[in-house]
């Protein structure tokens, strides 16, 4: 499953709506509640763990991808 598909599934939107620019400011479905669900789903799927500060910082597609890269996750 791609990162875009994972985000789309959790936010319950079409995969085509998730773009490089997508963030909590550009997608209404990316609200505070879904954000926590999204982080938990990413942790489970990629077998990583985020700290509290990291969870708060993961507010966009790019930030998530960069954080996963930093954690040596192969996407």
């Amino acid at each position: 499953m791609t990162l875009k598909k994972l985000i789309a599934d959790v936010l319950r939107i079409d995969e085509s709506d998730v773009t490089e620019e997508s963030s909590s400011k550009t997608l209404k479905a990316w609200n505070s509640s879904r954000h926590v669900e999204l982080v938990m789903a990413i942790e489970k799927h990629y077998k990583v763990r985020f700290g509290s500060a990291e969870i708060a910082a993961l507010q966009s597609f790019r930030q998530i991808r960069e954080m996963l890269t930093k954690k040596d996750v192969v996407m």
């Binding site: 773009t19 997608l27 209404k28 479905a29 954000h35 926590v36």
Partner: protein, 242 residues
């Protein structure tokens, strides 16, 4: 003036005004926030929710301030406010989910709202285990599956409402306990075992598989009024003649 309003607005895309229809009502910063949304449906809902919030604020002050005179602002902590040119301000909270928009507005008290589906995602037990306080986890585990899921949802929406009222993100408030020092005092919020903040919280099963929570630092909760989008738009009809 009245203490506050708590409105439930059933919404459908067909009933929402087109983008830009009430642009004269919305300031530049707000417009930038709304226009940042990728999807037309998100922009329309975000625009309409801000219009409805203005009408709610005008209702509280018995129309002494017109809806287009309010400007969105934030407290130093980040919670939403509507300010009139006179300096008068109304605390405002907005939430939406599926086909419901919730507006809660008061004078003089911080307020927050959230609306969520009763159905929780499959990972809800992991979320509770990781973030919720021990008394909350104990309460969830005390009940069979469906009931415990409902209790999780109730606690979750309460935390989200308080986070909004505080101008924070949910992730900053997941670790607070909604179960106070006494079961008889469930509306006392305990944060990290040290600080207590007093909140009044109320949960409402609003139908359509949705639960809403509202919280305030004081005042009395009002019975929610079910409003219609058409009524909100009618309140703004004078703008079209400006």
């Amino acid at each position: 003036m009245i203490a506050g309003v708590f409105w439930l607005l059933p919404i459908g895309m067909h009933s929402l005004p087109e983008e830009g229809l009430y642009a004269s009502c919305i300031g530049e910063l707000e417009a930038a926030e709304i226009n940042a949304y990728q999807r037309n449906s998100d922009r329309r809902l975000a625009g309409f929710s801000r219009i409805a919030a203005r009408v709610a604020a005008s209702t509280i002050v018995e129309d002494r301030v017109r809806p287009n005179e309010w400007a969105f602002s934030r407290t130093t902590a980040g919670a939403r406010l509507l300010r009139a040119p006179s300096g008068l301000s109304v605390n405002i909270a907005i939430a939406d989910n599926e086909h419901i928009l919730v507006i809660y507005a008061t004078l003089g008290h911080s307020v927050g709202v959230d609306v969520e589906l009763w159905e929780r995602p499959s990972g809800w037990r992991d979320i509770a285990e990781r973030f919720f306080s021990k008394p909350e986890r104990d309460l969830i585990q005390r009940f069979p599956d469906k009931k415990s899921s409902d209790i999780f949802t109730i606690l979750w929406t309460g935390k989200e409402a308080i986070a909004k009222a505080s101008g924070a993100q949910l992730v900053d408030y997941l670790d607070v306990s909604l179960i106070g020092p006494s079961v008889k005092c469930p509306y006392t919020l305990q944060r990290k075992g040290a600080t207590y903040e007093k909140w009044k919280i109320q949960w409402l099963d609003i139908g359509s598989n949705l639960v809403a929570s509202c919280c305030a630092t004081g005042g009395s909760h009002r019975i929610p009024e079910i409003m219609s989008c058409d009524w909100i738009i009618d309140q703004l009809s004078f703008l079209e003649n400006m």
